[in-house]
């Protein structure tokens, strides 16, 4: 008996190969996506961990203070493995005619903390250039760049190209995580040379690496207390280090995708399995009755119908896990290659593959469980009578809620009520649409959010086209010279200084920017707030637990502390700056150190930037719009990503709707035959079924939109921190287009079922019903 049932199972699957294949493919995609992306995530984490270990990454960086004496004190603290001190200075760099913001970092020949990985050239005999900077300008060992030191532009010969764990992502600071391309570069030079180049502009940093088994949290707290005693301005943990924080946010998002997307596919597969098998159980009621009457146990029947899901889960799961494992290495290579992460770890994780296959198997079984249990509950005597129990009837849910619907022509009422006839199947279809819509809106939401926020950042917030740094104070004459450059429409002096914001709850290191209240270079909802105190970013409001009017201390360079009040908050997508008036900073001794420039409409950007760089007192020019242009250049890639997700979502929705519609038609062949026998045309019957399908799709869209919006919002929130503020943004057309896509999929998915409808042999159905 069991052997025969096994044979029946295989033949049944062969007979329903369309639906079975669709489900197996969905399970395959779910398992493959999980294995590939989760393994890639694990590889990325392992790659970072390897970089941290091999390059002896600092656990804590203490900024400012009495560096050398703090370093000596630090070496005596319990749990410390190594301590290094260094000089760091932000100094302009010049490569040919290009002038950009630079950072000169002092380094020992063979440091015990924050080692550098040599990519090419030599460690000695010159400066070591960070790989992203080298890549932007195609720099090679032996070439010369210039740095603006105390004595003007100084040549630096490049000895080698290096990777640093601190610049795996070339973030300038937590407020400037996404510097535009060719706007920022890092150069490592011997410590004594760095000290000379930096002069008084240099910042002393103490790098601390804890012993392998040290309690990191306790040690960090001890050091933070110690750093305060030595007047340090900031302590930065490895997790808060700008590059690491940005990459970790990205990788966390990657992990969420690695779980979310496969979950959607596996859920869809479970639903489709349930629909397919419920139909089979219903069709085989007489057979089940006969088997039960012949002595088959309930357990045997459960096992038989459960095995449909298990076979599909096994087929899709094993193939998916294998394909995913193969894709994981490629995915890791692409990701680490794109980010330029050295020491990439690419290894197979059989555990992930096993989990992926196990998930698929479990999902197959889960989908089959309810129908299998239903089969085991069939009463033999009733089932063998052959007539399936008819539904109880009654007005549809829609008619109950909207009574006028009950007065619609009968064919419309028939459509509404048919939806509630097989509630589980209808619910599966609606859920399938919800899942597909979620997939689409999460992917599309990423694109829209990035696009809208960049447009807000570079349209409403940052209204300048370029940021110019001079080699001296910003004078009225310098401003006039800049305004005279062809293509420049306006220029305005501004100030940016490092600051640590201190409230009674916490402290936060950022940059304080000074603007004149009538500024045209930065968008403020209430520019007069600049004169009343300090405007803060939203992230610092949450962190420091401050409200408007609360007192706040500003720890400025040189140890100066200014007591002020919070005059308001700004909501900006990138960074968490603090703002005050230019005059206030001048009063505190900080003269304007940058000129913000806006170009004339239609000006040649390249020529205007070159014109600015040619001014003798200009030290660095940053093309502020570079990031936006870079994003627009990569828009094709974003669309490819969204397109891929659309295809996946369409597949997912197709599987559910195709399975559901096929079951619907198969189950209603007698009803269809009756209508056809009484003269109703095939086209009319098809229209009734199509209307049901489209209505269910629309219901799914109605339910799915808020669900998908919430999931997409939560997903984007995972990317939000004080570095970025990624509140979900959806363009008005996006939900409409997503809905239209799903309606198109619905119409497509019903085609096989409608073809089957045409193939219903009326005579045969009547003959078989007649016995």
């Amino acid at each position: 008996m069991v052997r025969m049932l096994r044979r029946k199972l295989l033949r049944d699957l062969r007979r329903q190969k369309g639906q079975a294949t669709a489900i197996a493919v969905t399970l395959f995609l779910g398992a493959a996506l999980f294995a590939a992306s989760y393994d890639a995530y694990r590889n990325l984490q392992a790659s970072y961990a390897r970089v941290f270990v091999d390059l002896r990454a600092a656990d804590l960086t203490v900024v400012g203070g009495r560096g050398d004496s703090f370093g000596q004190a630090a070496r005596t603290v319990e749990g410390v493995a190594a301590v290094e001190t260094r000089t760091v200075a932000d100094l302009p760099l010049r490569i040919g005619r290009s002038k950009l913001l630079g950072r000169v970092v002092g380094t020992a020949p063979d440091p015990d903390v924050n080692r550098l990985l040599l990519e090419s050239g030599s460690r000695s005999g010159g400066a070591l250039v960070e790989q992203h900077f080298a890549g932007d300008f195609d720099l090679q060992p032996g070439q010369t760049i210039e740095v603006l030191g105390l004595d003007g532009w100084q040549p630096l010969q490049i000895a080698g190209i290096v990777s640093s764990w601190e610049y795996l992502w070339p973030a300038r600071s937590r407020q400037d995580v996404l510097p535009p391309p060719r706007s920022f570069g890092v150069v490592f030079v011997p410590e004594d040379e760095a000290a000379i180049l930096a002069g008084a502009n240099g910042m002393r940093e103490t790098l601390v690496r804890f012993a392998p088994h040290a309690d990191v949290a306790a040690s960090t707290a001890r050091f933070q207390r110690l750093a305060l005693q030595f007047d340090a301005t900031d302590t930065v943990t490895r997790a808060d280090q700008p590059s690491n924080a940005a990459l970790q946010t990205d990788i966390d998002g990657f992990r969420d995708l690695a779980v979310l997307f496969p979950l959607l596919f596996l859920a869809a597969a479970a639903l489709a399995t349930g629909v397919l098998l419920s139909r089979r159980v219903r069709a085989e009621r007489s057979l089940i009755g006969m088997l039960r009457a012949s002595g088959a146990s309930r357990r045997a029947l459960v096992a038989h119908y459960l095995s449909y899901g298990l076979v599909l889960g096994l087929a899709g799961g094993i193939a998916g896990a294998a394909a995913g494992e193969a894709a994981a290495s490629a995915m890791t290579r692409v990701y680490t290659g794109e980010l330029g992460i050295p020491l990439a770890v690419t290894q197979a994780h059989p555990g992930t593959a096993a989990v992926a296959a196990g998930f698929a198997l479990a999902v197959g079984a889960l989908g089959a469980l309810a129908p299998a249990l239903a089969a085991s509950r069939v009463e033999p005597a009733e089932a063998m009578r052959g007539t399936p129990p008819s539904g109880r009837g009654g007005p549809s849910l829609a008619e109950r809620f909207v009574p006028p619907l009950g007065r619609l022509p009968v064919r419309f009422r028939h459509v509404l009520r048919s939806i509630s006839r097989s509630r589980r199947r209808s619910l599966s279809t609606v859920l399938g649409v919800v899942l597909a819509l979620t997939l689409i809106l999460v992917a599309w939401g990423m694109l829209d959010t990035t696009s809208v926020l960049l447009s807000r950042q570079f349209g409403d917030v940052d209204r300048q086209d370029a940021d110019v740094r001079l080699d001296g104070p910003v004078s009225a004459g310098a401003l006039r010279r800049i305004e005279a450059v062809t293509g420049v429409a306006a220029a305005e002096a501004a100030t940016e200084v490092p600051v640590t914001l201190v409230s009674s709850h916490d402290r936060y290191a950022t940059a304080l920017r000074g603007f004149r209240p009538g500024t045209t270079m930065h968008g403020f909802a209430d520019p007069s707030a600049l004169e009343r105190g300090v405007l803060l970013g939203r992230a610092s409001r949450d962190l420091l637990q401050l409200g408007v009017g609360d007192p706040i201390a500003l720890r400025l360079p040189g140890g100066q502390v200014d007591e002020s009040r919070v005059s308001g908050f700004v909501d900006e997508p990138l960074g968490t700056y603090a703002y005050t008036s230019l005059e206030r900073l001048v009063t505190l001794g900080f003269d304007p150190n940058q000129v913000l420039v806006r170009f004339a409409p239609g000006a040649d950007t390249e020529a205007t930037l070159a014109g600015l760089e040619e001014l003798p007192d200009v030290a660095a020019v940053t093309d502020t719009r570079g990031l936006e242009r870079l994003f627009n250049r990569y828009l094709g890639l974003f669309y490819a990503f969204v397109g891929t997700m659309l295809v996946f979502a369409a597949t997912l929705a197709f599987v559910i709707m195709f399975t559901s519609m096929s079951a619907n038609v198969a189950e209603r062949s007698v009803e269809v035959t009756t209508l056809r026998a009484n003269g109703v045309s095939h086209r009319q019957v098809a229209q009734l079924l199509r209307a049901e399908n489209v209505l269910l799709t629309l219901a799914g869209i109605a339910v799915g939109l808020p669900v998908a919006w919430i999931v997409a919002r939560e997903f984007m929130a995972a990317y939000s921190s004080d570095l970025f503020r990624f509140d979900l943004q959806l363009k008005p057309w996006t939900p409409a287009l997503a809905g239209l896509c799903l309606v198109a999929v619905a119409l497509l998915s019903e085609l096989p079922a409608l073809r089957a409808l045409r193939r219903i042999d009326l005579g045969r159905t009547v003959r078989e019903r007649a016995g």
Partner: protein, 245 residues
């Protein structure tokens, strides 16, 4: 009650050497062989035969649900073997009403809605009135808003009859209409079919394996192994209430 059969017989369906084969080659099954028969307007004809004798195939052919493999078939003046799919649908829409053994009602629609659905889809006007009238005619005037699950088997079959006749077809084709009913309920259904035939003058063709039902027919067509083996005129058909099995 006097029969509404016209004085001069007028054929509604004429079958000549009609044959139907399912499948091909070795697996071919000849379900109907050289069947010739003429059914007159207003007749109540019972096709009697055991399971597999070809009676449902004969019914399907006359109702244009299937195409004959051989021979000619003229129903209500139309040569069915020459009609395309659209014309066959049209033919069924205008000329034929089907009643099946298992009623085949839509469970989510009331009795009235079940009848109205077919009327609506076949383009009839005054749907509600016609459906109500058809249901009242079969004695279900007080069951209009009942769903199939709230009706007995006999009532469900009468709804199916109302559905078949509401569009006013020339021919009512019944496939084992009492097959799923007990004696009492079955008699009620037979009485209804008889009434349709006698009072409304409808031509009724009923296939059954229940030989007792033959007693109420005007003519009995006996089939065996795909062949019409006898056609007998019943000079004294009994009332449906007298049929017993």
């Amino acid at each position: 009650m006097s029969p509404a059969t016209p004085a001069v017989p007028e054929p509604v369906a004429v079958l000549s050497d009609l044959g139907k084969t399912y499948g091909e080659g070795a697996s071919a099954v000849e379900a109907l062989r050289a069947a010739s028969l003429s059914i007159d307007r207003g007749e109540l004809v019972v096709v009697l035969g055991p399971s597999g004798s070809g009676k449902t195939t004969l019914l399907n052919l006359i109702g244009a649900l299937e195409r004959p493999s051989r021979g000619t078939l003229v129903v209500v003046g139309r040569e069915l073997e020459t009609l395309d799919e659209g014309e066959r649908t049209s033919f069924r829409r205008e000329q034929v009403g089907f009643v099946f053994q298992f009623f085949n009602l839509v469970p989510s629609l009331t009795a009235l809605e079940n009848v109205a659905l077919v009327l609506e889809l076949t383009g009839r006007d005054d749907v509600e009135r016609r459906a109500t009238h058809a249901l009242e005619a079969v004695g279900l005037g007080d069951r209009l808003d009942h769903f199939p699950a709230q009706l007995s088997g006999g009532e469900q079959q009468r709804v199916a009859i109302a559905r078949a006749v509401a569009k006013d077809p020339a021919l009512v084709l019944c496939d084992e209409p009492t097959g799923a009913l007990d004696l009492e309920t079955g008699r009620l259904v037979l009485e209804e079919l008889r009434r349709l035939n006698r009072e409304d003058g409808r031509t009724v063709l009923m296939v059954t394996h229940n030989s007792a039902i033959a007693a109420m027919a005007d003519r009995v067509v006996r089939m065996r192994s795909g062949e019409i083996v006898a056609v007998e005129r019943n000079e004294h058909p009994v009332e449906a209430s007298q049929v017993s099995w």
